[in-house]
Subunit: 221 residues, 2 copies
């Protein structure tokens, strides 16, 4: 009997959204054969990948014989619905809403502002130089993470992780932003609650293995 | 017996995110007492509202005695979990993933780029004048909607609505962007599939009643 992977994952080492899917797969004990789509070489827009996902978007998770699943937050919900253990959302509706809200502050309010296509627009049509791009990224990462810090520090539902003492989708999305902030060496405001939660996350193999710098295609050293 | 509203909704006439919650409440047959938080007067950052939602974010939906629910996509999922009829997501996991993915392309990839806080940054720190702001909005609405059009036009799961023949979260998010494009008089690429779906949505009272221009505080005429 061979150990065939459960999924094909089309991704790239440094993207936040691919990181989220990797962590969720690891937490669920699922395996994926990862296909590198090199964004630096615009492979996401090449004929080869467009035949797989006409939208040219990564990550794309493929269950054999099915249309590709896209958008990391939709993929996390899919994995949680189809592989319920361990759960990535709490059981009660108010708790689920809080976790999804924190996740949306990160994957929704924060991440879309600093994607390559946005930076490219600002450079080519907005006259932003390298310093202005760094300022843009620092501002939106800092603002977004500060808002999440304020919530986590003040809300009683926060535990050793974003919501209680179990890892949820909120922690996965938080990790996807803090890891990118680190790779981009962005100066952030003090985030003591987030720092504590992330230290506990990164002590887990599921998060540690998903580190962008450990993936195929990442810069060495 | 009095008809007390089911919820308090803190919102503003013209925001996409408040629109989404209004449509979902209408579809579920739920009522909310809507409290206007005037973004033009920065009321979302005033002491009165911060006492209700320390994050200063609208929409906020309050179930009596509970912490405010925030982030429109999390609120839609909450309403669907707590008031299942009519469902806003299909029953099968692949269908649910497709609906959430389309919703994320709109509420996640597209909408965050054109929020007031982003436009303000571009004006004050990026040197964008009115024409450049209009160009920015036109670009991201057009790009986002064109990608969704491509999906809807090519995927077999599209029906009279985004997914089959029942309204889902994807249609609500689609409406929230197309309505804003219309209010802002943005020139968009041809979107025949989207136009058809939106005509069918706006023929429903739940969508028609949620029109931003029909809300308290909207400009007349």
């Amino acid at each position: 009997m061979t150990d065939l992977p459960d999924f094909e994952l089309y991704g790239f080492w440094r993207t936040s959204a691919t990181y989220r899917v990797r962590v969720a797969l690891n937490l669920k004990g699922l395996t994926a054969h990862e296909q590198v789509i090199d964004l630096d070489a615009n492979e996401q827009l090449g004929a080869g990948f467009l035949a797989i996902n006409p939208l040219g978007a990564i990550p794309a998770l493929i269950v054999k014989g099915q249309a590709p699943l896209t958008q990391s937050t939709a993929i996390l919900e899919f994995l949680d619905e189809t592989h319920p253990a361990p759960p990535l959302l709490p059981a009660d509706p108010h708790g689920r809403a809080r976790v999804r809200s924190i996740a949306a502050m990160l994957a929704g309010d924060t991440h879309p502002l600093i994607t390559p296509r946005v930076r490219k627009y600002l450079q080519t049509k907005g006259g932003f130089d390298d310093a202005a791009i760094k300022g843009w990224m620092t501002h939106w990462f800092g603002t977004g993470l500060a808002a999440v810090e304020k919530r986590l520090a003040s809300e009683a539902a926060t535990g050793s992780f974003c919501h209680g003492d179990e890892v949820t989708i909120a922690d996965i999305c938080l990790g996807s932003i803090t890891v990118m902030a680190r790779i981009n060496k962005l100066a952030l405001p003090p985030l003591p609650t987030i720092d504590g939660i992330m230290a506990r996350c990164e002590a887990l193999e599921a998060f540690a293995k998903a580190d962008p710098l450990k993936q195929v295609g990442a810069p060495k050293g």
